[in-house]
Symmetry: C2
Subunit: 387 residues, 2 copies
């Protein structure tokens, strides 16, 4: 039994449902942000993040800063790239447009490589683009939360290493870290940015970043100073290194309660093999997608190989809009999200299946959601048909 007040199951692609123990950690009594107990907790979070990202290279550097996933983009654009440099942004939905906008804010030229809605740029197109211009970074959204389209990171990284080895590989893992396999060292990734409130399973409010030694070198070799203050690695790097060495340090006040919740969430994740966690998400996702198919519904992600494990974006039957179906689902105790990709937002809904809703043996969130969707669609259709 959950100790949480009764509430509809939140099955949007983040924030997700949180475990009782994680939520209890949010109420931790107040601690000094420079006292030993809190500094130890923060340091352990950073060490655990290395495990979650599967990096043992000591030059890898985790960052945890109060903010949201979006702040990760600022961190990349303000620290890794410099004004006038070029970024190649692979587009699989809304979040590539925003990341490109962030680069432009910092004076970095963003070139977007687009694919039809529901698909992703193909490797030969990426290769062609990389050969045409020298890019400081290439960015890829692992799972685009607006479309549920998954990008394959390893083959992409292999290609970049071969064709343009100096280009740094930046992964937007906001909707993938914690539910999709990410082998930071083995695949040779340079930056992964993410947030706390999705598959990591900790309430929103933290920007989480893992940077490679190469990314940190690029930062250290900048000709200009980082052009953010709150998001500056010049300010945060010594702090993160001190925290991990369990030494008190101050730049800006972190959120002890959120850090405690992150600590609990990471401990839970690492209490079993990561491979099992990723496999479980994949299995549940495949089950969801099969049921969606069986209901006669189509997904935005058009091919099995580019469908994310943590969410499913579902086209509604012709003529039905999110405001017609979402309240019905809510009455059945399930919250889904509306569309976010601006060209087709009124045509689809999004179902997040990540974290405790997927991993817990005690919860039936996913099966209840599928049942609610099936019944809800039938009810709405009946009502519309009867008009």
């Amino acid at each position: 039994m959950s100790s949480q007040a009764p509430h509809p199951a939140l099955l949007i692609p983040g924030p997700i449902e949180f475990d009782d123990e994680v939520l209890a950690s949010m109420s931790h009594y107040s601690e000094s942000h420079v006292g030993a107990p809190f500094v130890n907790t923060f340091g352990e979070c950073l060490s655990m993040l290395r495990k979650l990202f599967q990096t043992e290279n000591p030059s890898s550097q985790p960052f945890v800063i109060s903010g949201s996933g979006t702040l990760g983009w600022d961190q990349v654009a303000a620290n890794v790239t410099e004004p006038g440099e070029d970024a190649l942004v692979l587009h699989t939905g809304y979040f590539a447009d925003s990341f490109a906008d962030c680069f432009e804010t910092y004076g970095v030229n963003a070139t977007q490589l687009k694919a039809p809605i529901g698909d992703r740029p193909q490797l030969d197109e990426v290769e062609k683009a990389l050969k045409e211009k020298k890019y400081k970074v290439i960015t890829v959204t692992h799972t685009d939360t607006s479309t549920g389209v998954l990008s394959e990171i390893k083959p992409l990284a292999d290609l970049v290493h071969k064709v343009s080895p100096d280009t740094l590989i930046v992964v937007d893992g906001v909707c993938s870290v914690g539910c999709e396999d990410i082998q930071f060292d083995a695949w040779g990734i340079d930056v992964v940015i993410t947030a706390s409130q999705k598959a990591i399973g900790c309430p929103a409010g933290l920007s989480i970043v893992m940077a490679s030694g190469r990314a940190i070198e690029a930062f250290k070799n900048r000709k200009s100073r980082p052009n953010s203050y709150f998001g500056s690695w010049k300010n945060w790097l010594p702090i993160m290194q001190n925290y991990e060495a369990k030494k008190p340090s101050y730049f800006a006040t972190p959120s002890p309660q959120l850090i405690h919740a992150l600590h609990t969430a990471l401990k839970q994740i690492l209490s079993q093999p990561l491979a099992d966690r990723f496999a479980r998400h994949k299995k549940v996702s495949q089950g969801v997608k099969k049921e969606i198919d069986a209901m006669g519904l189509k997904q935005l992600a058009s091919k099995p190989e580019n469908q994310a494990s943590g969410m499913t974006a579902i086209y509604l039957p012709e003529g039905l809009t999110p405001p017609e179906i979402l309240p019905t689902l809510m009455k059945k105790g399930v919250i889904f999200a509306g569309g976010l990709h601006k060209e087709i937002a009124a045509k689809y809904i999004r179902f997040g299946h990540m974290g405790v809703s997927v991993m817990s043996e005690q919860r039936d969130d996913i099966s209840r959601a599928l049942k609610a969707l099936k019944e809800g669609l039938a009810e709405v259709n009946a009502t519309k048909g009867g008009k």
Copy 2:
């Protein structure tokens, strides 16, 4: 009786002790960041902030963004000022140096007006500086957390309005909002930045800003785009306006749990007249300062009129350092902070007296802290004398 686990009383100048009900709000079950219940809660927070800042002018604009107080500086430097413009930074401690550094990051020229440690720039010096150059903004730290020095906002604002009426007045209220009187409208202030974890009494993780119509106009009339993405008012202004109108809206995911805690904290603050709250903080502070005097200890803030109500920075007896006394206090169940002003950090400690520790009739945090300090000093002196 508190429902919190037993712990030493946190009496540093932020984070402070939090009320049970506020901490319980941190464990709120997960909600959609675009669902009506959460949007209503966020909107009410913004409306309550107007009351806390004593502004009824509809053109005033509150912002609440995941981050820390520091992010407020970025918001000012990236939205209100433009590269090449000038900022006059009144210096009363560590935080003016940092704010100036933040301005320089964004290409704004920061001129610091310094005072001897423990004092503040005098009005005639400010007047002289304002007459020498055209400043886009003047900034003042209301209470500098590193020194406990209070700046007087109203006379300063009156002077600026008279001498340099186009100069926007920016108040760093991180350590003052919630415990010092701030009359946003009546005094004609343009921006106040603050954070959640001090006298507002909500755990750390939120950057809170109130901007005047003039400040928003300055932002709208920029010749260049805001040079931050996560901190850009271009991105956040429509979101905040929508939240307050109770309309769902998305730029970056806020932290529902922190917003619930802020809601609880603001409701508690506004449940009694603000004047009573400020008077209570002043009275308790004067009591603390009298006891400190009686112990033969000197304050950093050298004159009664520049001593903050929310904290006291205390010089240790000659030869005694913070690492010698702070662990003794901790054993007595009280946590104070060490020095932060770099020139004299080893010579003083800081005692925060804000929020629930001051306002609650049930708690004896302040009297216990004074007793611990008195006894602790005697013990440490005896030990040192015996060596």
